[in-house]
Symmetry: C2
Subunit: 490 residues, 2 copies
Amino acid sequence: MSDPKSFHMTAEEFRRNGYALIDWIADYHARVESFPVLSQVKPGEVRASLPAHPPAQPESFESLLKDVERVILPGVTHWQSPNFFAYFPCNASGPGILGDLLSSGLGVQGMLWSTSPACTELETHVLDWLVGMLALPAKFLSTSTGGGVIQDTASSAALCALLAARERATNYASNKKGCDGRVIAYCSTQTHSSLQKAAMIAGIGTDNLRLIEVDEKFAMRPEALARQIEADKNAGLLPAFVCATVGTTSSNAMDPLPAIGKICREHGLWMHVDAAMSGTAALCPEFRHFQNGLEFGDSYNFNPHKWMFTNFDCNCFWVADRKALIQTLSILPEYLRNQATESGAVIDYRDWHIQLGRRFRSLKLWFVIRHYGVEGLQYHIREHVRLAQEFARWVGKDQRFELAAPVPLNLVCFRHRAGDEANQTIMDRLNCSGDLFLTHTKLNGKLTLRLCIGQTHTEQRHVENAWKRICEEAAKLTSAKAQRDTTAPA
Amino acid sequence: MSDPKSFHMTAEEFRRNGYALIDWIADYHARVESFPVLSQVKPGEVRASLPAHPPAQPESFESLLKDVERVILPGVTHWQSPNFFAYFPCNASGPGILGDLLSSGLGVQGMLWSTSPACTELETHVLDWLVGMLALPAKFLSTSTGGGVIQDTASSAALCALLAARERATNYASNKKGCDGRVIAYCSTQTHSSLQKAAMIAGIGTDNLRLIEVDEKFAMRPEALARQIEADKNAGLLPAFVCATVGTTSSNAMDPLPAIGKICREHGLWMHVDAAMSGTAALCPEFRHFQNGLEFGDSYNFNPHKWMFTNFDCNCFWVADRKALIQTLSILPEYLRNQATESGAVIDYRDWHIQLGRRFRSLKLWFVIRHYGVEGLQYHIREHVRLAQEFARWVGKDQRFELAAPVPLNLVCFRHRAGDEANQTIMDRLNCSGDLFLTHTKLNGKLTLRLCIGQTHTEQRHVENAWKRICEEAAKLTSAKAQRDTTAPA
């Protein structure tokens, strides 16, 4: 209930309700393995349990929590389950959740330095920390020519990079006159779909996004990129941007950054490097070789909200030349003018992304880094990679299955040799069982299962059980087929 | 500290730390009036208090909270202070904070219906509730041709609307071929700067965003809009989009929606209506007249994170024709394909905004609506408007001051008659004092003070004190001037 006079939740109620919710969350994580990982509700089922009209009068917090349990929970796909192996992870942690809570509690809006200096400066500082933690090139430091900013997602980061590239290539004329259909962008056939979306949004058009072919490891072929750039230049077009990927979504392929980077430098193209999930691996020196060539990069991003225990949303995006980004996205209406901005001594992050308003998102990242320490983070990344490699060995040793792509880190792409239908059946049965959740892709035209290990609490036993369940479903396939074969008319 | 084996925060630690943080937030709100509203730190001061390198080993939660108090708090501009009258509010509340905490605790990623059906269905449902609560046209209901989605900010909503308009006008060709410089968009000279930014991002260009002149109330002149559209059509261009505003940022001006809407309909333009702050007022029937004409709107948005006690970020965006929006932003790579999507029976919100990933943001909105009830929300909106009207009367009765614009709702634009320098001095002194925080704009070329009433806990006494402090600073001006005049050489 609330203060009968003002309807507000009183301080005492906030404490009591807050404790209750903290307990609910602790309990949720303790029992998360008891739920089917993939929600089993049918379309419309959640809505059907909700009243058609909002309440005119206040309702109690207890009634809210009851409905969370009754209506919401059955409709949740449990991204925080250790049996979640689908897509890429979106892992969270105690310090991440509490850092986010602090952000909500402070309720600041960090669009300008002056609207909360700590929101800007902690963000700049933690992103400088990460340059060291991930051994990124020093040019990405805010103390150099570049700097980092927290975006919501890798999609937004890619869009900002593409816009900055567009403007740099057109001498900042597109912002003023609009696009003219001449700017060309490049990525591979395996690059994340957000690049296609960014090309649409930015007025470049998907026809002008060249999807460069890949090699047998699903990595971009640099010679094909070079040929296409030459062809576009000869056609009078304006090659401007390349997105290279460290760990593609589909199969975790690693584009060859040094070769791509040299081509970009030769032709004056902006190289954006997307390491949305795999970037976190660079916390460990032994995995940093994947980002060799990043010294050619104009921008780089990875998602602590994927594999670094920091609640969604938290994408870290760096540029080597912050002036290019700011000149692309800057707007200064009278009502936002202030002394600090005019002095030029501060960063106003509203000029570093699409939105104007922004949360205090660096708090959760700061909490996570300090809670785990660099060594704690490294420990978990190594464990996840070790588990994925072990799973890949099991697959490799089983005659019924084959690995469908190299396994550089924590994503295993594999399939049953019996073909697409068999793999679809295995996946559907596993996901319907609720025991685990994995998803698929297509590689070389074949349906391929993806098992990605990166959930905060995934341990050996969860991966062992996943393999056991996969083998069980594969065995059912074989016996069903045997049965069909014996009962078939002669 | 953390589990020594895994570095994770244990369930027991999470409870203990969570309680401590809930207490800290309750205490923060209890003592928020004791801090200077505008942070008094100098550029670089926060960073200077932070260690140059991240910790290698885990640190305790206690040490984190100590640093929040020591380093972060002095660098916070207190948006949740009842003495915050700057910009537009970004108000929060107990249920808003806790709803957001639940979202962090569940840690779901709602890009597709299937990745958490409840995340999609609660959002659709609450946005349908709001159509009724705000008396919006029925076409915005998900059960009609339209539907609502939560965006991060009004900037992103405006960008999505502009993109959908661009595609509709070009028969969805710009997405494919890129922009060709012919699409024209319209807003007024008073429209929020995010429209200019959206025109840049969308490849339309600021030259192709026509800033239509305003009348003496700072509202768009429809006849000027009509003239400009005709001129552009005659020049072979492609008028596509108008943004009309319910409550401009600068002065809370109300664009005439019926007249603008008729022009849009006549010429086939997409009308987007931006009611970022003022939209909340429509909770009260007596304030709904400002949105007359919304029946012509193709899209509409307002921010519960501004004036409806729902933590940032939460922008509600509706379209009348959801197909136009989805066709503009849809992408479907193989790794996101799933049965529910193919069935067509569900909403996949990733096709309704720029990003792919998304938080479970409807929880906080649901918590707020249920905690306050519609009547509780109405109570506060009426109080804020009443306080603003009272403040405006005080200004109107004081010979030293003048109102600079009509006061339709909760924003008062006013100025000292002594000119820009005097107003700048009054504002700087008030903001430096820390007693309150207000900001400025320029209206008819004159520096104008803005006092916006919408913070959750702002009451009569805070507004009275603001006026008292403004009068004190005005008196100092007069006495300083008098002193200068008497000491000036004859």
